[in-house]
């Protein structure tokens, strides 16, 4: 289990995916809304939680740095939502701690935590208009009415809906509702922002827009953010770091690029992106592996010996026409700029290879081809 405590450079290292959006208007109103340095450090320490026979969390350790956006990614039932709900105070761990800025908040009730949350399902209060929804928390804190409305309008402008204050939730689209929910989550100037699959109910176009906007806001405000998702594209495109979870544990937490290029476990390798498994034989010293008539260095140290499988991405597989290897193209899938070839090796293994559509045109189904891998270190795993 890698609990890599965060490379400090991540925020700067990842190029902002929130391209040249209409952030100019919002940027001016940002300063008074929340101070930049408001992000907190969040730590999960050995969190365990079982629901009856199922184990939701099995010793989760994770540290989120101030101002960082960490995506919790994993298949359903991996415990990512449970972890988030523990930070919000809706769930109690059986053991372990949740720390915010080093302070144990595990026993603090939900309504006294400093965490704003956006829910997966539409959670706006149906009987209140957008402005009153945003101002709800301020009302609970007994803020005066004028001040409440001023701040609510400020937040509505921040999420790009300055003219929608008087609309009721049923008069708003799904995307607008989630924007309002985001504004509401930010209203109390929380130290942590929690996003529980907030985009999963929206259609693709809206989702992409909102994704960029959430990222821009989060960076402008510098607020520590945890984002639960099962959509790897979402996680990879938005997050400073992605924490891949599996069966209640953290598999790997790294920058998107690192996670994709250097997965440390077979689960991560296959969960993030597409992976081929090609049979190979490890050398005696375990430092090189032989496959497809090539000898390649092994990435990292391995205990394995003898027969293994090599993990490789479709875009790393090179395909050239001509026999010799006994590999045959069995099908092609057009993906736009690239085309994915399905190739069968003589031993029955199916390999996917992404080629530019132009190159793939010369290799229709039935063509005998030769596969090769670039001369770079490869990841190996036991044979299945």
């Amino acid at each position: 289990m890698t609990t890599d405590p965060a490379p400090a450079t991540t925020v700067a290292a990842v190029p902002s995916p929130a391209g040249p959006t209409d952030s100019s208007a919002a940027a001016t109103s940002t300063a008074p809304v929340t101070d930049k340095a408001s992000g907190a450090t969040v730590q999960f320490v050995g969190l365990r939680r079982t629901f009856g026979a199922t184990t939701a969390l099995d010793g989760l350790d994770l540290t989120v740095n101030p101002g960082e956006l960490v995506a919790l990614l994993g298949p359903s039932g991996c415990g990512k939502t449970t972890a988030l709900r523990m930070l919000a105070g809706f769930e109690m761990p059986d053991s372990g701690q949740v720390l915010v800025d080093g302070e144990d908040v595990t026993r603090i009730p939900a309504h006294r935590r400093d965490a704003g949350m956006v829910f997966q399902s539409y959670s706006l209060f149906p009987h209140l208009n957008a402005r009153d929804n945003v101002a709800f928390g301020l009302k609970m804190r007994k803020t005066g009415k004028a001040e409440r409305h001023r701040r609510a309008d400020e937040l509505l402008e921040l999420v790009g809906l300055p003219t929608h204050g008087d609309r009721y939730p049923h008069q708003l689209s799904g995307g607008q509702q989630q924007r309002i929910a985001l504004a509401r989550a930010l209203a109390l100037r929380p130290r942590v922002l929690l996003l529980d699959e907030p985009l999963s109910a929206l259609d693709a176009k809206v989702r992409e827009n909102l994704r960029e906007e959430i990222r821009r806001l989060q960076q402008d405000l510098g607020i520590t953010t945890l984002f639960v998702t099962h959509d790897q594209e979402e996680a990879l495109s938005m997050a400073d770091r992605v924490a891949v979870m599996h069966a209640g544990r953290l598999e790997q937490c790294d920058t998107p690029a690192e996670l994709y290029a250097r997965p440390t476990t077979a689960f991560v390798a296959e969960f993030v992106g597409t992976m081929n498994r090609i049979d190979g034989v490890l050398a005696e010293d375990g430092k090189t592996v032989e496959l497809l008539g090539q000898r390649l260095p092994v990435d990292g140290a391995t205990e394995l010996r003898g027969e293994v499988q090599v993990l490789t991405r479709p875009e790393n597989v090179r395909v050239t026409a001509g026999g010799g290897q006994g590999a045959i193209v069995t099908g092609t899938t057009f993906l736009g700029s690239s085309t994915r070839l399905a190739i069968q090796l003589p031993d029955g293994t199916s390999v996917k290879a992404d080629l530019s559509t132009h190159d793939a045109a010369a290799l229709p189904a039935g063509t005998a081809v030769t596969l090769s891998l670039p001369d770079r270190p490869v990841l190996v795993d036991t044979r299945r």
Partner: protein, 307 residues
Amino acid sequence: MAGVTASALTTEGRPAPSAAKGPRPTGPAGGVLAGLARIRWGRGTVLLVAGLYFLVPIATTLWFTVDNSPQGFSLDAYRQIFTVPGLWPALQLSLLLAAGTIVLVYLLLIPAVVAVRLGSQKLRTVVELTCTLPLVVPTIALTAGISDVLRWCNDNLAPTPFYATFLYAQNANFPVVLLLAYVVMALPLAYRTLDAGMRALDVRTLLEAAQNNGAGRTRAIVSVILPNLRSAMLNTAFITLALVLGEFTVASILGYVPFAVWIVNGNSAGQGPVTVAVSIVSLLLTWVLLLVLSIGSERRNRAQSTH
């Protein structure tokens, strides 16, 4: 009279002229025959029979109140409503009981329904069964049980300090005993309406969102769940009001004189036309209330469908 009403209803029951389901849509120049062809006879018949079944008794009742033979038509019965003795105390008692029942039903059921929403499936079954039970127990059996308990209390409580409480519970001005019986009788319908209203809400998420915004549990329920239950609560109140206004068996056997009992008593005491006129008026009031309720919810629905 009844015939007129019924035929008026069938006219309303006809499908709209351009109904897409009509077998052969014809233009405005289609003529009488085409118009007849467009009437859906099956539906018309059902509507006619149902209309007769409901309206004939009401129409004859109405007739009884305005026909002052041999002088003919007269509104005397309606004029007497304001002067007839006993009506206002009876109505007051009924309304008081209804108000008490509604409040008690709210206090009992709203927390229960919220708990059921948040709690386990098992709890849900228990609450649902408990609330349905009064439907199975005949009112007369319930009344017999209450009488027995009262008699037992009378025999055994007299020497104890509880006797005052016992007497107070039977106070004719506000009989708590009757109130409790009505609460039990109102449970099945009240539970259904409240539960239906709650079902339309994502209670858990709303509560969590409220808590996330700094509201404690109780405060979250009061400030987020209750406002969204308003129409369900209104429905519950209305159904309970109708039940209490119309309840006769329990009140009569236990010897109280609320609205329904007064009507029946007055009828047999020779105040026939007045008491019947009172029932007609109460019927009209009920309809108006229903209309207001349905218009209110319709307006809300329309608002929800506009984007």
